[in-house]
Symmetry: C2
Subunit: 431 residues, 2 copies
């Protein structure tokens, strides 16, 4: 056997492909892939003893703007219009190094909360790609497009996106470049359709914001005589490459349209609620129609933590309470949304569950923590959804590389984090 091997021995494993239940076992990882799962421990170049802690597939965060991490705690408790104005101002003043270092911090926070892959929507994704490469997380990076008159990007956004895809499609197995569209309030039919063409040409996903706020719906109705999803459907834009974030304000006919065109959605409950968008996405109706529901944190500007445990629990609470029904969504379904459904949303079927020949994107959860007791086969998923927090992620592996072990970042990651903190402290006197 050639190549670097890593064993994770004696784990309780949740999220094994095709199995609903917790199993006891060990994994052998070779390079970036899980090669074998067995009852018996493996020998390997490096061995991690899981010591009966809980191994799960890493979470897939399907909507983020990781470069906004520096804005954490600076945009809270204000009206949406004021939030957007402040965000836009902060965003427009940034250098590449600001974006890079802010992304490093966001990626560190994601790794701490067990996120091993994320879908990002932003301009300057080439800079964010550098942060992805340096840290070793998995990034599905969508270069954001919008009508030229609304952008602060240099050059044509659509061309920038295409250049980004071309430059980064073979760069690293950790980076999957794609295109995005900001949203119906700043993108004409023409921009949407051009973005769709690019996505077809290169076989990428298209990441967009959709039906997030009442204002978006109202203005779209006023200006185009249709609701946003209806409008995009009418121009032939809804398609299976589409990853639509938010989708809070949908009617049932729009849910059916998303289903018919195999659109994936990213549910961002924490961000939505913190901005007070009102309403809760029609998740049960989407599930009934077979829409793929994944989950996202959104950015530190509106969340403010890149914490999938918080997102999963909050999503459950919101839906249960708004429907007056604690049984409307269960822990298994929520776990699936944050893992396997995420893999469908980013079109990568080698992540999101644990299995032979799957990519080794794994998180070990400490069952010795006071908040995780008791955990057994009866409640392991429940405890992940309703009790766990980022303090419980003991070890995090992405692409076969150990980025965090026994609660400590790898040397490389710790160094990147410290450097980023130093840069941001020195360059922003508000910090």
């Amino acid at each position: 056997m050639s190549g670097k091997t890593l064993a994770v021995n004696n784990a309780l494993i949740l999220g094994v492909k095709g199995k609903n239940k917790l199993i006891e076992g060990s994994l052998l990882i070779k390079d970036e892939f899980i090669k074998k799962i067995s009852d018996e421990p493996f020998d390997a170049d490096k061995v991690i003893d899981a010591n009966k802690n809980l191994l799960i597939p890493g979470f897939i965060n399907t909507h983020s703007h990781v470069a906004m991490s520096r804005f954490k705690g600076l945009l809270d408790d204000i009206k949406l219009s004021e939030f957007l104005e402040k965000t836009f101002k902060l965003d427009s003043q940034r250098t590449d190094e600001d974006i890079y270092n802010s992304s490093i911090m966001g990626i560190c926070e994601m790794i701490d909360s067990g996120i091993t892959a994320f879908a990002d929507l932003y301009y300057s994704e080439d800079i964010i790609a550098r942060a992805v490469e340096d840290t070793g997380i998995r990034g599905f990076l969508s270069w954001n497009t919008l009508d030229k008159k609304f952008t602060t990007q240099t050059g044509e956004p659509i061309e920038n996106a295409e250049n980004f895809i071309r430059s980064f499609s073979k760069r690293s197995s950790l980076i999957t470049p794609s295109i995005g569209v900001q949203g119906i309030y700043v993108a004409s039919d023409d921009t949407y359709l051009k973005a769709y063409e690019i996505s077809k040409k290169y076989g990428t996903i298209i990441h967009t914001h959709l039906a997030e706020t009442r204002e978006e719906i109202n203005n779209c109705m006023k200006e185009r005589g249709k609701r946003p999803v209806e409008q995009l459907d009418s121009i032939g834009f809804l398609n299976e490459n589409l990853l639509a974030a938010h989708t809070v304000w949908l009617n049932l006919s729009e849910v059916r349209a998303l289903s018919k065109k195999n659109v994936s959605i990213s549910w961002n409950s924490v961000s939505n609620e913190k901005l007070g968008v009102g309403g809760i996405p029609p998740i049960p109706e989407m599930m009934a129609q077979g829409v793929n529901v994944s989950m996202g944190t959104d950015s530190c500007g509106s969340n403010n933590s890149l914490d999938m445990f918080c997102v999963m629990k909050n999503s459950a609470l919101s839906l249960k309470n708004s429907r007056w029904d604690p049984s409307i969504l269960n822990a298994d379904e929520l776990f699936q949304m944050a893992t396997q459904n995420g893999s469908y949303a980013v079109h990568n079927n080698s992540i999101g569950s644990i299995g032979e020949n799957m990519l080794a994107d794994l998180v070990l959860i400490d069952l010795g923590a006071s908040n995780m007791f008791p955990t057994s086969g009866n409640n392991a998923v429940n405890n992940i959804i309703y009790s766990a927090n980022p303090g419980n992620t003991q070890t995090v592996i992405v692409n076969g590389n150990v980025l965090k072990e026994n609660f400590r970042f790898s040397k490389n990651l710790e160094k990147l984090k410290r450097k980023a903190m130093r840069y941001l402290r020195e360059n922003f006197n508000t910090i």
Copy 2:
């Protein structure tokens, strides 16, 4: 200076009495009290270098049933009637040692999430008091009463409560005994009024569940012709000793009644929403009327984590979204609810903020964590509410004793936790 001294030096301090802002400083603690706050570091028998991390008053959890920690993850995603039935069954089968060890686990989880004092409502509070004493947390323990025909307690609940108060009122400065009433669905006017008499006789709070579910309101209307708060007001039970948990389903006249009688409430958003009670308590209306709003986790059966960070954030999200207004409640107000308002609710004005001659109940939050960057005077409260998680509580001090230091429990606490885990594993084969 006699007595044991402890210094916490070089901290960023939030929640100093009478100050809205973050200050840099050091604390000198003697025995259980904060003796001095200064710009300069102190010498002491033991010195903790806070190293510019964030020192806050410990959270006060004003509604819990800590002995139910063993039920974590076993009662999820089911209808309320099924939840109550299962809980009742599990509860009725318990030995004192089950209750003690389960309480130890719950207390460990609270300390991990920065809770330094909790108000508990249960039978067998004498056993829970033992767990409080052994661990060193601060407990406001209310022996639960209800009509004799509904109880599984041996003897008369009211007499049991009085005996508990008498036996424990001078036992330890960490234990404040009091009386509770389960709720209007199992307590007659007579039981409420007897409990009130006991509370007046001994000068204790009365802890109760109130207006939690629609069923409670509907049945009360049907059986007594009044809504629960109206009913309790009509018999003269509403009073300043009362700590009422939940209060989800109130009309404005009931809000005014709570205000007029100086009742404190405990907002338990996570538990309420997980059980799908529907609705959100009328917090802005209560605040406008001057009702003291504190916060509680409720039990591991319905929450399922004893995590005040999660409660604070979720409470904010629910209210903002349900009112379509992100500015309706801000981080300062939420922080106050989880600290100072908690001290009002349990009638102890020596906790809930940091000041000279206040009790030393303190939590040090790690600002080196990826999710807490950047933190400054501009956003420290925001980051506590919207970004922090239990993994960030570095050091926890209760009553001048260091229960957790540099992310590790004290030897005593670690031993108690291991013993409790062992006991519970050995005695429940579902674990």
